[in-house]
Structures are given as C-alpha cells and as structure tokens.
C-alpha cells in the first residue's frame, strides 16, 4: 500500500528517494496498484523524468523505459513481432498505462513480451546515483537484485533480423500456456519461451526435450513439454526459412 508519494523531476532526486528501504519505482502502476499487500511503501513516480521516446540508433532501437506498451504497438521502429507481443501483453486499458520498464520490473512469469525481448537479446540501461550501467535482460530477470536502488531508463533491441512467435492458449487473446519466440540475426538464433520454467527463459534449441516445466491447472508438465517441442520447432522453422534445427 502506497503511504508516501513522490514525483521527482530529476533522475538524481528519484534515485535518492529510491534509496529508502520501503521505496519502489512507480511507473504505470498496473502491477503495483493491483497488489493486495498492505505493507507501507514509498512510491517514486517516474512520469516527470522524461524517460519516454523510441529512436533508431545504429541498427538498434532504443526504447525509453516509460514508453507505454501501446507506444511500442504504435511505433513503426519497433520490430513487428515485438509490437504484436506488446499488443498481446495486456488489454488496451492496461497497455495505455503499463510501461516497458515497469514490465521488466514486475517480471510477470507469464509475460510473452519478456520472452520476446529475451529472444531479441535485449539490453537494459539502469541509472543509479551518478552512474548508468547496461545489462542483458536475461541477467536482470535472473537476478532481480540488480534492480535494487536503480531506475530502468531505457531498453535496447536490434532492429533487424527475422523473428517468429507461436503459442497455445485457451482462447485467442488469453495468456499463453506455452509461448515460443525465435529471433535470428545472421547465423545466430535465439529461442525464448514462457510456460516451461519459473519465468520467461532463453531455451537452447537443442535441449527443448530436457525442459522441466512447472505444472498448473492449465497444463501438466508433460503437456507443456510437448507444446515446447511443437512450438519451438515451428518458430525455428519460420526464422530459418523452413530448416528446423
């Protein structure tokens, strides 16, 4: 429960408040404001920090952290597959509030968009007091403590290459039970999936059969493993022009 609210105008001010033990970054608020936990928190609202904007720089797309998911959907600079995943990530009311930085911070275990960003080998830029560092998204998702005291300022993805995505869900716009995203840049192919592990994860295309998925009421481990093989084969075939790995 937010018991203190701040809306700083500079990154330095924001990072300073963030140093407090109960402080959290408040971007769109779609995750934080839905959390029933009533423990008191101090919110650092980043809306006034001017961290939005999507630009093309040297073959990479730089997406400001407070860009809304709908901004990604609307941007011709963002790779088509990622635009589609941003659209599918949430219904429009939430897309209009949720930010890309917040999506990374919230780290929803079923996020197709995060899986897509993993497949694109996304980099995340963090600001701390006086410094700015860059990390692989995979590292940030694997170790959330990297985000402690830091504000995500930007996300960078390659603008080229081939990408493909497929999923199985109960209905066409439902969260996927399992989703697979593949991205090929030259000879390098990256595969990422949801629904086969504790969260969105990079998967070795040669080891799909070895996955140990968690089970829930929408899919047993065996079924998810089966889906992983089918979907991985489909997206890998799509990005390699029909030659499945």
């Amino acid at each position: 429960m937010i018991t203190q609210y701040h809306r700083p105008f500079t990154l330095d001010d924001a990072v300073a408040i963030l140093a407090r033990p109960d402080a959290i970054v408040l971007a769109g608020g779609t995750s934080i404001n839905a959390d029933p936990d009533r423990a008191p928190k101090t919110a650092v609202d980043v809306q006034a920090l001017d961290l939005a904007g999507i630009e093309l720089e040297g073959g990479m797309v730089r997406i400001g952290a407070t860009s809304r998911l709908q901004d990604l959907v609307d941007s011709a600079l963002v790779p088509v597959v990622l635009r589609d995943l941003a659209r599918r990530e949430a219904p429009n009311t939430i897309r209009n509030m949720a930010t890309l930085g917040g999506t990374i911070g919230a780290s929803d275990p079923e996020s197709e968009l995060l899986a897509g960003l993993l497949a694109f080998d996304t980099r995340v830029t963090l600001a701390r007091s006086g410094s700015s560092t860059e990390h692989a998204l995979a590292d940030v998702l694997a170790d959330r403590s990297i985000l402690n005291g830091a504000i995500i300022t930007a996300v960078t993805v390659p603008s080229g290459g081939e990408a493909a995505v497929d999923r199985v869900s109960r209905t066409p716009m439902d969260r996927p039970i399992v989703a697979a995203v593949a991205h090929r840049s030259g000879d390098t192919v990256r595969l990422a999936m949801t629904g086969v592990s504790a969260g969105p994860t990079v998967v070795d295309p040669d080891n799909v059969a070895d996955l140990d998925p968690p089970a829930d009421f929408r899919g047993t481990a065996d079924y998810r493993r089966n889906l992983a093989e089918v979907l991985a084969q489909r997206v890998l075939a799509d990005v390699t022009g029909g030659e499945a790995s």
Binding site: A43, Q47, V168, R170, F217, V230, L231
Partner: protein
Amino acid sequence: MTITLTVNGAKVELSCKPQDSLRAVLRGAGYYSVRFGSETGETGAAAVLVDGVLISADLMLAAQADGHEIETVEGMSSPGNLHPIQEAFIETGAIQSGYSTPAMILAAKALIAANPDPTEDDVRDAFSGILDRETGYLRPVHAVLRAAAVMRGDDPESVDVAFLDPLTSGAASDQDVTALSTIAPKVVPSVDVPDTRIVGHAEVKVDAIKLVKGNPAFTDDVVASGTLVAKVLYSPHANARIVDIDDSAAAALPGVRAVLHHGNVARVRYASGGQSYPNPLPYDQVSFDNRVRFVGDRVAAVAADTEEIALAAIDLIDVTYEVLPAVFDENEAILDGAPVIHDEPDMEGAHDASHNLVHHIQAETGDVADGFAAAAHVFEQTCRVHQVQQTPIEPHIAIAAWDSDERLVITSSTQVPFHVRRMVAPLLGLPVKQIRIIKPRIGGGFGVKQEMLIEDIVGHLTIATGRPVRLELTREEEFISSRTRHPQTITFKTGVDAAGKITAQDMHVVANTGAYGTHGLTVQMVTGLRGLSSYNSPIKRFDCKVAYTNIPVPGAYRGYGAPQALYALETHMEDIAAELGMDAIEFRRLNWAVAGDPLDIAPQLGEGDQDASVMPMITSCGLEEAVAQGIRAIDWDRRNDPAWREPADRPNIRRGLGFAMAMHGTAIPGLDMGGASLKINDDGSFNLLVGATDLGTGSDTILAQIAAEVVGVGTDDIIVYSSDTDMTPFDVGAYASSTTYISGMATKRAAELVRAQIIDRAVLMLGVDADSIDLHDGKAWSTDGQSVTLEQIALSTLHQEGQHQIMADASYVSPESPPPYAAQFAEVEVDIETGQVTVERLVMAVDCGVPINPLTSVGQVEGGLVQALGYGHCEEMAYDADGRMVNAAFGPYKIYRADEMPEIEAILVQTLEPSGPFGAKAIAEIPKDAVAPAMRNAIANATGVRIANIPFTPERVWQALQDA
C-alpha cells in the same frame, strides 16, 4: 495530500491519501459512472480518459493523475441531450445492465477522436480492457461503428428489424440474407401472429438514458454519509470446527463499531436460495456458524468507519480451528467413510446427512428395464460437467440502514427483493413489516443474485451499530464466497429400436451442491426435467443423488440445471446417431418432442402446485424452422466435405461443424407469480409498478410495451418503477425465465382493467357504445370519427366528474410452462498438434414465441451465447489439494474479451404461444443450453474424437487426440 484534476474541463481540487485510487476519488467527488468491477483492474468498469487515453481508474492512484485531464461520461452530454455515441448505443440495443456502458462510451470517444473511421478490429481492441458478461460485445462494437459513421456524416447500417422469409412454410424464397445488416434483429415471422403497434417492435429501452449517461442508478451510487464499511472474515480451511474466536483486539481497534460471529448472533436455521415459501429443504445454514465447510465460508463480520480499519480488524480476529478432513468430489462424498459435512444436531431436512446425501430425486414414467428389453440397441455414456461462476461485473453489494420510522431498509443488488425480505426477517429477529428491500439497477446477476446472500450480514451489523452499513464483495470473494454452477456426473442410457426410435431413456446423476444445499434440490430437478423432455420416449427414468462436498457453494446460474443436462443429452444423442450411421439431425428429428407431444416427466419434476390430472402438452414449436435457418446460416453442408475439414494448406488444423437442440421452460408452473399495478396521471401517462426485477434484461421495457399496447400509448407514456417491497406488488423475482411470461401477463391484465375504465369514461364523453371505441396513439377513438385524448379522460376522472383514480392491479400465476426451442450450431478449428480449439462461429435460432422486443431479445441471446461459450471452452474454477481456488481473478479465470470473439448470430423464429402475453415464451436462459454440446459435436466432426468432459481446454483436447 491535495491534488488538482481537470475533470470534464473543470479544475477540481481534491484531498486524498496516497493509496487512494483514482476511481475512489472520482466516485467520492460524485462521478458515479466510474464503477467497481475487480480489485485488479481487468474489468474496465472504472475506465476513464486521462489526457484523452482510456485507462483503468482502479489501477491508477489519484496522486498519479494529479495535474492531468480526466474525462468521464458525465461530461459528454447535459440533461435533455445525448452525445452521438450515446444515441448509437441506445439505437443499436447495445445496453443490457448498463454497468460498463460508460466505460464503453469513453472507449468509443477516445477511439473516434484518434481515428474517425475505425475498423471493427480497431473497435474490438478499444474494448479489449472492458469485460462484459451481457452483450457478447456485438452490439456495443457496432454502436461504435455506427457513431463513427454518423459523426463522419456517413449513413450507418440499419438497425431495423429484418424479417426473414420462412424456410419451412412451403413457399420458395430468393431472399439474400447475406446482405442483411449484422445488427438488424432477425425475425422469421409467423402468419399466426397478429400485428401490434408497440409489442413486437424494437422499442428503445425505457432506462436507456440513465444507463448511457452514467446517472446514479446502482446500489453503490447512493451512499449516505456516515455509512460504515463491512468486511467479512472467511475460512482458510475447507472443513473445520471453530474452537474459539477471540474478537477482543479487533473490537478494541479505534473505528471498529461491531464484530459479529457465532458467539454473539442468534442461531436461526435457513436455506439461502431465493425461492418461494416454503423454501425447499434442507435448512442447513445460519448467519454465523461454529463450523466452516469450504475455503471461503463465513466466519465473522466487522463494521468500521473505513475500509482500512475494517480490513485491519479482520486481521486481528483470532480464530482457533480444529481442521477436519475434507472431500471435494461428489462421487467420493457419498461413500461410506467420507467426512460428514453436516453433523450439527439442529440441521433440518437432508436426505441422509451421514452420507452427505442432501437429496435423492427419483422420477419415472414406467420401468426402463422393459424399454431396454424392447430395444435393438442400448447406448450408455457418462460425462462430467464442471464448476463455473456467473461473474457479473457488478459483484454482490448491499446497504442496510434504519429509516426515520425505525424500519430496516436494505438496498441490494438482488434478483429477488420479496424473497429476501421474507427470508431475512427471522434471521434478524424483525417482522417482515419492519423491513423494506429496494432493488435499484443491477450490474448483472445471472442467478448468483437469486439468493439471500449478504443482506443478513448488513442487517445484523446495522442492528448492532445503529448505523448504515455497506458491504460490497471483492472480486475474489465473488468467485469464492458467493455462488456457482452445480458440477454433476451424468450417465445417460438410451434404448432405440431398429428404426432409431427411442424405447427408453434413463438418466442418472450425481450432483455436487458444495457445502450448503441452497438451490441443490430444484437445480437438479430441472436437470431431470430438461434431460428427459426434449425427446419422446415411452419410458423415462431420472435418478439423482445430490451430494454435499467442501467446495464453494453452487446455487442458481442462468440455465439452472439445463446446461448440464443438455450437454450430456445432446452429446449422447450425437453419438447414438453416429453409431447407427444416421444423420445427426435426422436421428434427433425422429424422436424430438414437438407441438402436440406431452411433457410427460414434468408433473413429477415440477416444483409448483399443478393439477396432477392434467398432462402438460407442447402448444407451440418453431424447431423445424429454427433448424432450417441455422443450417443455412452456418453453411451446414461443409461438415461433410473432407477438403474443408482438412485444409491442405494448414496440415495441423482440422475444422468441424456441430449441432445441438435445446428445449427449455418458461417460468415454473403453479409457483411463479407476479403482480402489476397501473394508474393514470393528469397528462394521460401512467405509472406502472411491478415487483419484477430488471437486471439488465430489459424487463422494465417489455412490461412497458405490454401496458402501452393495451392502453394505446407509447412506451414513453409508461413510467416503470421496479422493484421495492413497500411500493410495488409482489413478484417472485427474476429467475426461471419468468418475467416476460408471468409478470408480463399480470401487466397485461392490469392494463386491460385500466383500458376498460378508460373506455367507460370515453363512453360518457363521446356518447357512444363501448364496442365502438378503440385506444391508440394516446386517444380514445370512436368509429364515428370522434376522439378524446387520454389527458382529457384523466383530467375528467381525477378532477371533474364522478371523480376516481383510473387504476387497476392484477397478478398472474400460470398452470403451464410452454417450452421455447433453439437450434444451436457451432464452427470450430482444432490444432491437432497442440489441442488448441478456436471457436469460429456460433449461430442460435430461437423460438421464443412472439418476442415482445426483438432488439432486447437478440441481446439476451448474444449475451447468453458468450457465457455458454465460456462454459464449454475456457471457464473453470480450479483448486489446489486443500480446496482453495487458485484462479479467483479475471485472467486466470478466463472469460471472453471483445477482441477474441467468434462470430455470433441470433435468429428469432416466431410462433404464437396461446398462453403467453401476446404470444410470448421465454428467452432468458435457453441461450446457455446448447453451445457446449454443439462445440463438442463440432470437435467430433473435425477430428473424429468424442470428448466426454468440458471445458475443451487445450490439454483435455490434446489428451483426447492422443488417446484416440
């Protein structure tokens, strides 16, 4: 903190706490159109525009909105006029309960501002964050397209009723139905039906203005200052005794006004199902018990000054439980050795509580053994239908308060105000005459509000504190602690002769009524009634055990036992046809019960006071026409085309078409009763007072149409008030598809008495015989060309001569329940590598007699189809091993969104039902009955696999494909 918002163009300074949502702050400032749907923001009922963009105000802190521009629907029009988007919603018939209509209108506004010529996909995406259980999204989407066209200056598509040529009358037709507007209500007229002026027309809903403007109309829109907030402590265990409750810390918390539990509330037995007196047994509930029987069962309740204090107090109640073993499966619960769920000595009326057997329902029309002996083939199969929840977007909410006469007034979102008044009285220790129940507008019910669920809690708390008390369930509580559909295990056994005619049908059910009986008897009686009425069989038997288990409590849900029965029956009949090598429809046609056939199991499975010597007969049936219309609409022949079923360019996809037939009931004969009262006003308008409860179904409009037809005015001259136990005549309430037929007939009779009084005065004023007078267009006309207005007649009778109030009342109860019929068709695609099923199209052709209002009727079908789709496809209540629901939120509990819908189509087939007002039968529940079996039969057509259980989630389908 203080924030500044610009709301609808005006700067407003508001004080709030950092944790306050924008929704709470806007409502506190009087913007009641911004509504509660869930605590996690998916419903969109609280959607507003912030800087022109649609967001969920329940997910934004007011603090985040500081300095920004907010638009709500209140800013879109002023009294007496409407924004074109609002007009489009009204004209298209896009409003059912109207609870989420303001959100949809704002979504439209933002979309059209950004894109004046949106596609249908654009509109569906704009609606993706607004969940709707009532409309199927079809009319709201087309309302936006209509508004955009009008605002561009283009012609919108027609919304006028489209009359389809009958296909089974013998006459040929070259009508091109594909050219018809998607949202024109489609009606196949019957030559038997006479012309009427108001009835049978797509009149605009009488409550449309307040709904489309977001004017205060719902329970939460009128909250007196000083109202306390109630919260409930629920059980974390599926089965436990409460050994001790220590409320001292909770009661001592500043701002807490009462803490109630079994230690300080009288123990009075009841059954919570909203039904007529005497409520069916067992009486196995008390307001607060010393025992909990499911995760989510009631333990204690608190009233406090604020929600925060109430929640803190809940946390401070210290309960010591003795946890007991639990059982969740209906078949296990009735075995020896299962945990006994109701062992209290004062429990009344279960069949055998020691075996968790609540009821054992048995009915037969002969000895099925004889019928099976005479059969050439006997077929038997078993299926299980699962637990789903009604999920109205407005949860349960009730506010209790003492009025100045020290009578207890409870305003509640209820379908059954009169039953609630009668049922809550003994629990509160008050006489019925000291209680008043007011039903304002309701944001969806579907049966979950056919219950005296929380009115006793707010009543107890108002009595304990002397203050007004408000209780609104959270979405999680609505899932777990209200009511659901009854799961059942159903076995059908059918014998057929060599020609394919049924010789016997035997239906065996074990039903799961959860922790308490409530509707457990009557839902299952309907299961037997509906399972064994669709087809003629010389011998029928129904045997049903209803079991207690420790799951959250099933109750009333639209369909009320019929969706379960018809899933089992229509999949069974499909499979028999396939085994016999007969066409799926042809086999059914050989056996289905039509006009002139008896409803021979009904006398044994009816709830009401019926004459046992009279066999109910079917008196109207449009099934053949409905089937023919559906066959054409879905392009049924594709089912037999292997190239269509296995598309060469998509090797992992199979396509299929499926059919299911539904016959339902219309009200409960000999039981359901409603009253209506009509009086004239000085200007020739009328007040119509009815106990019938419009929960968004449009019943206020239907009843106004019936009265208007009889007294010869327009619907805008009938002012409807419903319903209020002090102000309106009794009505059982909105359930059993009874309102049009029962309350409609009461209204018609009252109007006929008023008509006679009007004519009496016209006779005096015109000097002619009564026989030469007709009423229409607001006047009394005589055949010699004279006329007098109803205003003149009113002024004359109220003020001038032989003064009296022209008024009359009437009640109606029916000895019969004429069945509506439906032909349901479904088109699906199955990915055979993953099991994923995509529903492409649903078509339902319905015979509801004469639809009083074709626009609201198709709206009922379109909305019902989507709920039925969820039942078959994707909705399910899932639990962990301890009986805790794991998906008690929208999202994990999946209901369909606007941007993923299949095509849906409703076709109304007219018949003239002699016993119904202007020929009407019911339409409210039948849309729930046949989608799941039609889907299952379509999957069978596509893949050859006959799946037993619902829902058709990917893994279930995949497993069935593996096992085949």
